[in-house]
Amino acid sequence: MENPYIPYPVRIDEIEIATEDKSLKTFKFVFLNKEDEEKFSYQAGQFAELSIPGVGEIPIGIASSPVEKGFVKFTVFRAGVVTTHLHNMKVGDIMGIRGPLGNWYPWDKLENKNVVIIGGGFAFTTLRSSIIYMLDPANRKKFKNIDVVYGARSPGMLLYRDELFEWESRDDINMHITVDGTDDPDWKYNKGFVPTIVEQKAPQADADTYAIICGPPIMIKFTMPALVKLGYKENQIIMSLENRMKCGIGMCGRCNIGKELVCKDGPVFTLEELNKTPKEY
């Protein structure tokens, strides 16, 4: 019997400060045992438990992409006991990763479709994973138009800035980067909240267009009406949820919304599915 509670041992290979306020760091991990990397075969949209023995575990979306080999990446906001401990760890430290956990964005269903990615703040990690996956030369032809609306409070709070600007210069992805506000006179992208930019820049929905949304509750709340206005139906809006979790494998019982367990039946749901459950997220 496989023991799903045992984390794979990993070494912290690189730590990068991800935002100007230093509240987010991106950790690159390398598996101590090569064969564990194969067992940890994941899809964009899944998450894992970062495990620090003696401290605890935290469920975090996987920010690296299945097409990136040799490492896994997570961008972590310093919020509680475990994340604070993690922020104080150093390159070379040994810890654990348990996963991959949960379902993923419906890549089969999204083939030959237009995909609109909408993200806000630091909920851009599995979206980064998704974009890298879709832009991979082996995969790009599987998708039609790709639009990305991504916003943060200020330019320095955008995650993965180098990549964002690189994607901005490509012609196979339409980037709509935005910030709530900035006093930088050289800022050449959008200014305004994500819902507004979605309404202005996101494509009108047709039967072949799907939106993936990940962001803080307030952004989601105001983006929904914008998407409805653009003609998106409940089954064309795909969301990734977060809830407090412990086990990550559907057993400990705290992350449920109705009968669905966010950790195992989710975290990815369509709005159609969510509208059948209590809004306990």
Binding site: P4, I6, P9, C247, C252, C255, K259, E280
Partner: protein, 362 residues
Amino acid sequence: MEIIKIKKSDWAGGIDKSRKTYHLFGPVKHKNHHIFRQLENNIYPDMEYMSSVLSPKSVLFPQSQKILVTSADASGKACHIFTPPEQDHTPRAVIGIRPCDAKAVQLVKLNFDTKEYQDPYWCSAFEATTFVGLAVNTPSVLDFSTSAGSGPFAQEGLDVLLVDCKDHYLAKILSQKGKEFLNTAGFNEKEDPKAADQVIQQMKISAEKAICSVIQTQHLKKKTVLELYEAPFWEDIAFSCISCGTCAYVCPTCWCFDIQDETQGKTAVRFRNWDTCMPALFTRHSSGHNPRGEKIQRVRQRFMHKLKYFDDKYDQGIMCIGCGRCVEKCPVNIDIRDICNLMNAYKPEKESDAGEIKGEIK
């Protein structure tokens, strides 16, 4: 089907014989009530018990259990690499478990033994365990097991059903595990199965007749989750709740747990503890956001889980076996039977009241 007769004068001797092979668990008197626990060599299960305060779920799912350990000594090689502690796979036998508590184990199994993941701690304990049940001849006034998918003589989840016939037990063998246990204990006096089963059937009928408490569940399935979720009665039900969690701790079907880490000296330990959905901390995000921050949401979660979500998910009836423990122990007299009947009888005033969400997250 085989039925064995066990003279009560032979009982203690058989129990002693079985100890050589099995770790025994059973009901033991403790102060003014009974608890279920492992039996040392000179302790015998008290077969006169009515119910135990806590259910026997702890035999498979201890209140606190180490799941992983590692060295926290940075100079060592295996520092911070977790491995499970050694587990005891010695066969165990639970003697005198009530039939409804055994059925509860089957319901809990749906959570711990799934297609995708098997909880190795629970599953290996389950594999090692033989359930020797004791039929309930005189059900308590709080027993509503017959309307909750079980009953005083129910067999589901049992390997042996013992029936107390004054000077002897009739032991109905229900599985190979049960047969092996009786063999090990040296109980092998075969009864005429037909005649003995008739005796058992008679006793079963009179025990079931003695149950005076019932719940109605027949309409729960066809109601939608949101209909019941938005019903007006939750405010009243939750009003007196003090979020103590007693209902969950005494419940044989509640399986929620917490995972915590501790470092003791140079050892780091990860363990799990029983948890309960009643306090706000259960679901609070580290951001402070809490999807069930209000008491009414948590009380509703408890009963919706047991009486609606569970059946919707597994199609195995409700997640309650009618033992009556939570009814007895709730300090403010919240009664699952009343709530179940309310939910079952509930009709929303207007169909359109429930589930009216159009592309907007509230």
